[in-house]
């Protein structure tokens, strides 16, 4: 293919030969062939803003680009069952949860701006409730094909115990789960 500037500014002269037509045809079909073995369309990435979740995001972005999938980042505000009424000790749990949800949403938006480039489709969601059940329910609702999880979240017992959240999600998930950890042999280039 020869491309040259033309006499009128802004136009180009392109000479295209038969080999180029063949290449264009093949490149049209290339994406279609690639998609057949995997049908990974939605990836769910639970985020708790620890260093390990950033690791999960580092894995999620190349996955999304490779498989042309949509990422959904979900943050769960832990609100199990709070005492109410006269047992709440004067603390308004409902409002606290609401404020945590809002700040979680803002932090997620900031994370998306910082980490994710424009080639990847990203959605964010904030949920409140027991973490494992909320993540599994989110996976079911969003019909995600993969959950990308990182271990050693905010447990306080690092290097000894797997966060029980990850372990329970592995048990209850409705789809495959990819578990990554902070220090390990990686298959994603940094």
């Amino acid at each position: 293919m020869k491309i040259q500037p033309a006499k009128r500014s802004g136009n180009v002269l392109v000479e295209s030969g038969p080999a180029d037509e063949l290449l264009l045809e093949r490149s049209e079909r290339f994406g279609a062939e690639e998609k057949t073995p995997f049908k990974l369309k939605n990836i769910l990435v639970p985020i708790d803003f620890s260093a390990c979740s950033k690791k999960a995001l580092q894995y999620a972005i190349p996955f999304a680009r490779q498989f042309n999938a949509t990422l959904t980042l979900v943050h769960v505000v832990q609100s199990n069952y709070f005492p109410g009424g006269e047992f709440s000790g004067g603390y308004d749990f409902a409002r606290a949860v609401k404020e945590l949800r809002e700040s979680g949403g803002q932090q997620l938006a900031k994370l998306v701006l910082e980490e994710v480039d424009e080639f990847v489709r990203v959605k964010t969601a904030v949920r409140a409730g027991p973490p494992v059940q909320e993540i599994v329910a989110a996976a079911r609702e969003l019909e995600s094909d993969l959950i990308l999880l990182s271990t050693h979240g905010r447990t306080g017992l690092k290097h000894v115990f797997l966060g029980s959240v990850a372990e329970n999600i592995v048990r209850l998930a409705p789809c495959p789960v990819l578990v990554v950890r902070e220090h390990e042999r990686e298959f994603v280039a940094n």
Binding site: Q4, R65, R171, V179
Partner: protein, 188 residues
């Protein structure tokens, strides 16, 4: 200002045919993303010949085709505990189950031969020991980039009594672990 066609290869360009880029070509020129840096070279697939591990094999085929990764099939046989009394008290130990090891080696070989067209060039190995421990050790030895494990998905009483190899492998693995289960929303 008079413009002249620029020199190409030292010669003035002659009149060239104008070809409008077709719609598809125009889109391709704009949309080609940079190649994603996923380098999966070696995948460890523990199997226990149950139906969930068939699922793991399906995924392994897909990964091998997509990333050109080398697959290693692994089967772990539990050793037999023995105890003996040599006159100064009882001694206990565990020894490999030779009969089962031989049977499983041949079973794994037939599995590999059956999967030959799909998984060209996959290795097989049979180890003796505790399942999760051997899986983790094998992953470290083979420098696996990914462990592809199927879980039975036991919940409730089954989970309490039988435990889960998958969970233990996830806890101790030296690399990412992909857990698949028999009834789920598939990615393959």
């Amino acid at each position: 200002m008079k413009t002249r066609t620029p020199k190409v290869n030292g010669k003035r360009a002659r009149a060239l045919k104008v070809v409008r880029l077709s719609g598809a070509a125009r889109n391709h020129a704009a949309e080609i993303p940079a190649p994603a840096p996923l380098k999966l070279k070696s995948i460890l697939v523990p199997v226990d010949f149950s139906s969930p591990s068939k699922k793991a094999l399906v995924y392994a085929q897909a990964f091998a085709r997509k990333f050109g990764a080398a697959i290693t099939l692994l089967h772990v046989v539990e050793p037999i505990p023995w105890s003996a009394d040599y006159g100064y008290g009882e001694v206990h130990g565990v020894g490999p189950n030779e009969y089962l090891l031989k049977r499983c080696r041949s079973q794994l070989e037939t599995l590999r031969r059956r999967q030959a067209e799909a998984l060209s060039g996959c290795q097989t190995t049979v180890r003796s020991g505790k399942a999760f421990d051997e899986i983790v050790k094998a992953a470290k030895e083979l420098d696996a980039d990914l462990i592809l494990l199927a879980t039975h998905g036991y919940t409730g009483l089954d989970h309490t009594l039988l435990g889960s190899t998958a969970e233990k492998v996830v806890r101790h693995a030296p690399c990412p672990v992909l857990i698949v289960r028999p009834e789920e929303r598939d990615s393959v």
